[in-house]
Symmetry: C2
Subunit: 101 residues, 2 copies
């Protein structure tokens, strides 16, 4: 019987990133922000998306938490932009997953 393994950090991290992408609203936001020099405000998004303000705020918080986006306060707005380093890191993770050994 093979030994029970601890799941490798690499795999845990990939799953974490996938979780951040596992809701359509979050994918929508990231797609929007990953365009050239694209940033946006919470208000822009809430007008487009079929969810309430507080719900949207939760999704933004999650994306901020995993580091994929960052919010720059620009009163009275908060300008959200992609964190390009993290985005690249995520891209690499998925590339590696899909590039068979």
């Amino acid at each position: 019987m093979a030994k029970k393994i601890e799941l490798p950090e690499e795999i845990v991290e990939t799953a974490k990133m996938a979780k951040a992408l596992s809701h359509p609203v979050r994918v929508y936001i990231l797609k929007k922000l990953s365009g050239f020099d694209a940033c946006c405000y919470s208000g822009d998004l809430v007008d487009e998306l079929p969810i309430g303000r507080s719900t949207l705020s939760q999704h933004l918080k999650e994306l901020k938490y995993v580091g994929l986006i960052q919010g720059e306060t620009e009163p009275p707005f908060i300008k959200y932009c992609l964190n390009n380093e993290k985005w690249t890191e995520a891209k690499k993770m998925f590339n590696q997953l899909f590039t068979e050994a």
Copy 2:
């Protein structure tokens, strides 16, 4: 005020695929199966992974449900393999997401 959109099918599908990848155990399984000509049995996995049989079975079911893997019955075992078409499709989805417009 911009119009509330229905989330595009492409985005919903990407989120669905990401959800399938949002648990470390499922990432582990897919990584294992995506090696060259790699297949395995539930029993192999349960020996390696720190979860019970029925829990593993649930994860396999989910991966089957989204079409990423398929089980070929080979009594008294069930041989699980990657569904290569779907895997390629998933790869494309993430490629598209990460390839800015």
